[in-house]
Symmetry: C2
C-alpha cells in the first residue's frame, strides 16, 4: 500500500510537488486545501494553467508574454521606441515597469548565456535583438541583466555583436547600484529605479 490513502490524491500531490520549492508535505496541504474548494473553483484553478499554456503568445517585437501579437508596451505610442531595455525574463520587465523610471521598450532574451547550464547565444533572443537594431531607428540599448558572471558574459557578448553589426547605437548597462550577485526581480524598486537612471555607457 502506498503512503497515500488514495491514488488520485497521490497523483495530485505529485503534480503539486513538481513545482520548484514545493515539498511533498506542503503539496499535500495545498491539494487538501483545493479539495475543500467548490467544483467550480477547482475547475477555474486547473483551467487557468492549461489555457495560459495553450493560448499564450509572445510579442513579435520584444518576445515578452502577451495576449496579442504585439504586447501593450510595444503597441503603445506613448513609449519611446528608440530605447530598448534588454532583460532576461518576464519578471524583469514587470520589475522595471514597477519602478516607473523607464519609458522605452524592452527586449526579453528568455534566458542568459550560461555555459554551465548549456545555454548559448543561439538559445536566447540575441539574433532578433540585432535584427531590431539594424532595422529600426534605435538610439540606445540598455543592458539590464543580472549582475552575475552569466549576466556579464551576456552583456559583453551582446556588446560585441552590436559592434560587429556596425549599428550606430549607444550601449549602456544599468548602474551597479544593484548588489553584485543579485537577481533583477528581487531588487527593491528604489535601487532598481536608480540603477536605470544612473546607467553607465558600456565600455569593453
Amino acid at each position: 500500500m502506498s503512503d497515500y490513502p488514495s491514488i488520485l490524491l497521490e497523483q495530485a500531490v505529485n503534480q503539486m510537488a513538481s513545482l520548484p520549492g514545493v515539498g511533498r508535505r506542503t503539496a499535500l496541504r495545498l491539494v487538501l486545501h483545493l479539495l475543500r474548494q467548490s467544483d467550480h473553483d477547482v475547475e477555474a484553478f486547473s483551467t487557468a494553467f492549461t489555457r495560459l499554456k495553450k493560448e499564450v503568445l509572445y510579442c513579435r517585437e520584444c518576445h515578452n508574454i502577451s495576449d496579442s501579437e504585439l504586447c501593450p508596451i510595444c503597441a503603445s505610442t506613448r513609449r519611446d521606441h528608440t530605447t530598448i531595455c534588454v532583460v532576461e525574463n518576464v519578471q524583469d520587465v514587470m520589475s522595471i515597469e514597477n519602478t516607473g523610471q523607464y519609458n522605452g521598450v524592452y527586449h526579453v532574451l528568455g534566458g542568459i548565456i550560461s555555459p554551465m547550464e548549456g545555454i548559448g547565444p543561439k538559445d536566447i533572443e540575441i539574433d532578433s535583438l540585432i535584427e531590431r537594431l539594424t532595422k529600426g531607428d534605435i538610439q540606445e540599448v540598455i543592458l539590464a541583466l543580472p549582475t552575475t558572471m552569466e549576466g556579464d558574459t551576456t552583456n559583453f557578448y551582446i556588446f560585441r555583436r552590436i559592434q560587429n553589426a556596425g549599428v550606430d547605437v549607444r550601449i549602456s548597462q544599468i548602474a551597479r547600484g544593484v548588489a553584485v550577485g543579485n537577481q533583477i526581480e528581487y531588487t527593491d524598486e528604489l535601487t532598481l529605479g536608480r540603477s536605470i537612471v544612473n546607467r553607465i555607457e558600456f565600455k569593453a
Copy 2:
C-alpha cells in the same frame, strides 16, 4: 494597463496565489515554471486536481479520503478493527501510519470543534463515530487530536457523548510530554509541567 503583460498570465498567477502561503511573486515564478513545461505536462498538472475533486470518495467507515467505498485500512483483515484512533484530518492518518506503531483503524473527524471558527460538533464526523461505537465491537477509542484548546474541547465533547451513549469502551488520549530528542531546558513550561504530573513508572 495591468501589471501583467498578459491577462492569461495574470489569471494563472491569481489562481496560484489563491493557495494558502503562496504570495504573488512566488505564484508568478511557479506559473512561469509551468509555462516552460510541455503541453502534455501542463495538461497532466491541471487534470490531477479536477480529477481528484470529481472522483475522490470518502471511506464510508472512517471518512478518510479513498479511491473506493471502503478505504484500504478499513478493508484490511490484518488491522485490529476493535480499536479506533480518532484524528482531525487525512494528514494525521498518514503521520500515525508512518510511525508504524498503530495497527487499529481510524475515524477522521474532518475538523475539530472551534467556536472561534464557527465549527460545532454537527460540522464534523462525531455522530458517525458514536454510531460506529454503538453498532460495532469496539474495545478502545484513542483520541489523537491536537494538543490545543480546540483539541481538548473536542476530546472532552467526544468523551461525554460516548458516556451518554452508554457504550462500554476504553477511551484514551495520546500521551503529552517532552518530544523525543528534545532538551529539557528548551521544552515549554506547560509541556514540561504535564510531563512531570503524568510521569510514568520507569521500567528498565
